[in-house]
Symmetry: none
Subunit: 210 residues, 4 copies
DNA sequence: AGTTAAGCGAGACGGTACGTCAAGTCTTCAG
DNA sequence: CTGAAGACTTGACGTACCGTCTCGCTTAACT
């Protein structure tokens, strides 16, 4: 996750302030909480961070890239402790993810930058690198553990395994986001239990397809 | 789906032009295709529709409400023909939905208005009424047919049935959106087959929870 | 003196506010007094005039054109009452002109726009039309009266007469401006008397050149 | 003409580069020619001179002081060769001065810095010291020679003589500048002949005032 | 048939934010 | 301490849209 343009030869001249970087990202998150994505302005973020607007633009090309970086770090807090069963592991991570999506800074920002990314390839790539791909580890870890426990068969072909991992990732992330943001209904224990049951119950059928 | 502010007393004076309405929505879709949501401007839509800006604002309060109405009608084209099995029905509707999300006007608009709706309750309500709730019919019809065919047990409690319908809706819609817009991977036949297998295979486990 | 772009067909649409025009010019003069030309900003003028910046730019292309219009009207106040002799007439108008140049709004603005006009042909033309050419009337009137009084011979050729009028204009205006702004010395009665004497005394020699 | 801040104790450390000084002034003149005063930037001058911005600011407080120094040296090129008569001497120097004002670097710079000086006393003083007062020598020399030739009486009081010198200076410089920059008409031989005739013819009348 | 109230196109209006640019200062490293 | 490099704060720039308003004109429904 390279958050800014890294100069190739930053030999001479006054170096960029490292404090400014963190102050800006923190100010961005604060502005997202108070104003939401669409009312967040670069000038306001600069003021909050105690920094000039030009300093923002020296580091990030536009609002969306800044917001992605500001929010990305939050997603790295997701963890997958070993709770003893696949179903429990899934429920835990889904609840964690739902908690993250309830935070106003993620709720307002995530969909907005994804929407923008449909027309902005560099942004799409940045989202993928900074957020999406980094969280696939959760699926990989969960599957590996389930195989070690014997809950899932382990002799599958690597290509198929990857495809199923991707499917699970899209289903879990998509379902939670849709529930939370589109349907605007709570992601409570009962809903999580049903989703987990669906996944655990259906995985066998998927694997059987080959 | 009330597409505009309906005046309470439309008694006297010149009536609103019905042609203008459709021209505006069509112009909005065209602008979405060419410019995307974030670069679409009200002035541009008005010009494309051959209409004054005033005329737009007399009918829609702002850009988001207009975009929701312009896009909503596209979602009504989704159908669920009886293909003989639950798995086939699901695969069919998922492919149709994916096709819809690949259209540039929906791709750019859907996530954007949902993002805005996280901070705008009336907009959230309009999205729900114009788009989301209207498509739940697909899940209801599919489930009813599967029960008629005997693929699913029919004696479930109504409340649980509703909850499972909602779950399926969020999983299907969420997964497809996430695959198409976030992961930015193609929703092809193989992926659809795996998703359908997961659902059909998992439904039993979910129903067993009661 | 066309103070703004006059649309050829201002048939439709909301008409421009006439009050805004005068408020802006008045605000410009006030800003010149307080801040001088180089620290005058378009935003500040707009604020003082209680008008949006866009309204300024809709009427004037840039700061210099605005300043020329704001100042031009002041030069129209110069008059040439008949005081009975050429020398007295000259002294009177020179003192009036010096008084005008002592006003802070003219002092700071006149040289600045002339400086800019060396690189901006449209501005040069506007200055000529709005300020310079309009004041040549003073020279014409003064000469005509002197001829009527018999102080100057009247049978000169028109072309030569024009050339001498121009010379007198440049000498009087140039000398006063140079004294006031470059030498920064007072234009007092004694200096004016000497300048007038120089002119009246020298005019015969110039006319003799043919 | 002290062109820069002279450090009182230039004892220790690396000495300032003398070459840099001339490179900067030359770069300033080049920038004036290409861009004019208002578009000349300190950063651009520094780049042209192959020097850091810091180096500029260590020597000149701001853009205007730099420009005055860059241009002042050009005015020192004016000379007053003895051509045998007052009229000829005046015509010669006026043509020289007009030639100087036609150069793009002086044309754009002179009026601009004078305009700025109306609100900036130190700048006014610098202009006076570097440019204005230095050229009064031309008037003094011309007058002295005319007296030696017997074209002008020599027994005048010193104070009156000074005042007349100043008047002539303002009239000549002012008239030429006004003709060249405000009226934007050529300073050709005929115009110069008329101006000279006016002066020579009028001087007697002025001297008669006492 | 005439009145009348709303619709309509046009475009000016007060705002807010944009992204850029230059001024002049500060910080680092190299000599 | 000088000097090059370049990051920094500040503040204005001129533009683009927003959503509102004010015109003069048009149009159908109700007298």
């Amino acid at each position: 996750m390279r958050s800014r343009t890294t100069p190739d030869t930053p030999r001479t001249g006054r170096p960029r302030s490292a404090e400014a970087d963190e102050a800006i990202l923190e100010a961005t998150r604060a502005a997202l909480v108070e104003l939401g994505w669409s009312k967040l302005t670069m000038g306001d973020v600069a003021t909050r961070a105690g920094v000039a607007k030009t300093t923002l633009y020296r580091r990030w090309a536009n609002k969306n890239e800044l917001v992605v970086d500001a929010v990305a770090v939050l997603f790295d807090q997701l963890e997958l402790p070993d709770l003893g069963s696949l179903q429990a592991d899934i429920e835990h991570v889904v609840l964690q993810f739902a908690g993250l999506l309830e935070r106003p800074e993620t709720k307002t920002a995530l969909m907005a930058v994804v929407a923008e990314s449909t027309r902005d390839a560099p942004l799409r790539e940045r989202i993928r690198a900074s957020i999406v791909d980094r969280q696939k580890r959760l699926v990989l870890d969960g599957r590996r553990r389930a195989q070690e426990r014997g809950e899932l068969p382990s002799e599958r072909e690597p290509l198929t395994a990857d495809a199923i991992d991707d499917l699970i990732f899209d289903v879990v992330a998509g379902a939670v986001v849709h529930r939370a943001l589109v349907s605007a209904e709570p992601v409570d224990a009962q809903w999580v239990a049903r989703l987990s049951a669906l996944l655990v119950g259906g995985l066998g059928a998927v694997a059987a397809l080959g």
